[in-house]
């Protein structure tokens, strides 16, 4: 009976909506992650939301719900179509993944289906080779690819994800043809194929590559970002520094969003509180310990980022 009453109360709140926005949030909030439990996105989402229950943050805990499948498409389809837009259902986004997918088609969302709240992290793609590889710079890689068109094999996690975008950009910038090998099972499988020597090189996440280098298994030849990563890889030059015109389009930005139609008062409240929540010292400590680069951005900055990304990806993926 009590459950029934609670249910009724929630329905009433839902119906009357905005009047209650001032008290938001008054119950725990759910955050949908469209990748499996234990993956990088899931793991980081759990860290950055762990202080949500603090009084200076939202005052209510955030619970993670995983809806993995089809490279994130299952979760984002659900989020665009079925998620309640009452502020109690948040979603984690990955750029460029979901925008690239919406450009390729076959999904029920695009950039305008969601409202960004704040960005918490940015994990650039890097080019790696095995520790005994003869390649020591991107110039070596490009020279080999020029001499042996289509014969340089390199791995990355799947198609139309950050790794694939970086691969397309590098081939375009160097005007070479190489053989991209997509792997199933994310960055870990792509990393394994580089370490085991199944392929000559690979694109991987900066955080994972940093760990693999610490373990003495790979060399990192270049970062596909606008600037070097001073925190983890100050010695690795960017692609631009090595004469390849590759920008930060492949950087994997992660953050929080809500479905379109969420009341503006709630969006405002989240947009002011959530970036502050990300700045918590304990959060930063845990993220840094895990080798996950943080990059906090506000709602306005993310809106601009989404728009720019859609334009570049449109050009890049045209005719593929």
């Amino acid at each position: 009976m009590r459950n029934l009453l609670a249910g009724l109360a929630i329905t009433l709140v839902g119906l009357t909506g905005n009047a209650f926005a001032a008290d938001y949030p008054e119950r725990p909030i759910m955050l949908m992650v469209s990748y499996g439990a234990g993956g990088a996105t899931d793991f980081q989402a759990r860290i950055v939301t762990m202080t949500a229950g603090n009084e200076d943050a939202l005052g209510m805990p955030i619970a993670i719900i995983n809806k993995p499948g089809a490279g994130g498409r299952v979760g984002w389809n659900w989020f665009a179509k079925d998620a309640d837009s009452d502020g109690y259902t948040l979603g984690a986004y990955n750029i460029p993944h979901f925008i690239a997918q919406s450009i390729k088609g076959g999904v029920q969302y695009n950039k305008d289906s969601f409202e960004p709240i704040a960005n918490w992290g940015a994990d650039p793609a890097v080019f790696i080779v095995g520790k005994d590889s003869p390649f020591n710079s991107m110039a070596d890689v490009v020279a080999y690819a020029k001499a042996n068109p289509g014969k340089l094999t390199y791995s990355g996690a799947g198609l139309f994800v950050g790794h694939h975008i970086a691969a397309l950009q590098i081939e375009k910038a160097a005007d070479v043809k190489m053989q991209y090998i997509p792997t199933k099972g994310g960055g870990a499988a792509a990393m394994k194929s580089v370490i085991a020597g199944d392929v000559l090189g690979g694109i991987n996440n900066l955080s994972d590559a940093y760990r693999a280098r610490e373990a003495g298994n790979v060399k990192i030849l270049g970062v596909a970002d606008l600037n070097r990563n001073e925190e983890f890889l100050p010695d690795v030059p960017t692609m631009m520094e090595q004469g390849l015109d590759v920008d930060n389009s492949s950087v994997n930005f992660r953050g929080i969003m809500v479905p379109k139609g969420t009341p503006p008062e709630i969006i405002d409240k989240l947009a002011t509180t959530v970036p502050e929540m990300f700045k918590n010292k304990r959060v930063a400590g845990k993220m840094n310990a895990g080798g996950s680069p943080m990059h906090i951005m506000t709602r306005e900055q993310v809106q601009k980022l989404w728009k720019e990304r859609e334009e570049t990806l449109n050009d890049l993926l045209q005719g593929l």
Partner: protein
Amino acid sequence: MEFLYYFGEVFTPVSMLLLVGGTVGGLILGATPGLSPTMAVALLIPFTFHLKPVHGLILLGAAYTSTVAGGAVSAILLKIPGAPANIATTLDGHEMAKRGQGAKALQLAFLSSLVGGVFGVLLLIFLTPLLAQWALAFGPSHLFWLAILGVTVIGSLDSGSVVKGLLSGCIGMWLATIGYDDMQGVQRFIFHDALGGGVNIIAALIGLFAIPQVLTMFAKGRHDDSIEAIKVQTHPIGEAIREVFKRSKALIIGTLSGSFIGLIPGVGGQIAGLVAYDQTKKFSSEKEKFGTGHSEGVIAAEAANNAMVGPSLVPLLTLSIPGSPTAAVLLGGLLIHGIFPGSDLFDNHPDVAWPFINSMLIGQILMCAFGIYVASFAAKIAQVPQSIMAAAVLGLAVFGSFSVQQSMGDVYVMMALGTMMYFLERYGFSAAPLVLGLILGPIAESNYIQGSLIAGATDGQFAYFFGGALNLLLIGVVVLSIGYSVFVEMRSRRALA
């Protein structure tokens, strides 16, 4: 022998409390349909935020070992394998439970889990550098042949005839093609929203194994209470220990094949139990008894799936590459405390690495002791009237498939596949080869595509797939396995004629 030095950390009060809690909790989670070891470990990660790294890992290690073993409980008593690792356990285990020997089956399962598990962890302790090389040796072409080897197992697994076994496997492989294809960037056979992410393996397992029995029980009507006539036999533990050692061949084959297959990244954990079961059957002098409630079947399957736990962590701990979904979750648990697996782990954090590994050793013993304690009264489940049982299993099946990823779509898939299996079973097809097809299909396909892309860019398809000692060895085993199945089929036909 460095690891002995760190046993002290395992026996502190906090560690022991977490170890016991993780083990008991893990057994319960593992016994719940739909809660796979991967999910159980993922659920525990947030708790480790507030613990010291070494304590967090002890909790996760204990939970991992005991959820794998806990899956045997629902596999044996309800015929619902908790995870792919427990599929082989259902084949003979549930037949034993139906005869009232549930207590015996559970005791055998936990004892062989203990033996297999301890062996696996000892391999991890002593042979890690060697094993890491073995794990890396498997490239796309080798994984492709390994998957094909798995397919040849299908023919002889739990089916009246080889042809029907292979056909079931084909259905499974077809089901596996549904969904979004990462390798080519296309959508295949998605005719309903629920199929967007493909057929979820856990939901499929629950449907294929549980629903046919539920339907059969309902079909018998509520007045058939024949099950109550079954006398649940109590089984002294001493006798179970003697039985395990009498069947030492099954125990050894299960343990060895489980630990070596479990090592191979991406493939091992899923098929170790089934391959071990099949090998034990082929080498057994009582082949015909398999599938009818033969204790060797339970022993081999459970020894194998726990033997896999230790070696499956080798690629993670040495190379920082998670070789299984559960290892990927454990990686998250390590990173959160600033510990990078790889050489760093053993060089700079031996005080975390070794207690973690040691706790898995102690965890095996706790798991076995607690499991056997539960076995005696859990087995009484066979006395529950069928009408109540059918409703309970149905409820668990819905709960289990929903909880995998909080999706009603998975419940529809579970019900649809289960209903299909009910009719297929009437015509002599069976669920185990179908599930094996579902698991192996994507492995064979993605590795074939990767291999052929690499081959196309380098020395050509033939040289890539047929060159090298490891390829030839695997192809040789495939030929032998097919030859053996044909031989057995021919002989049984002659015997009938």
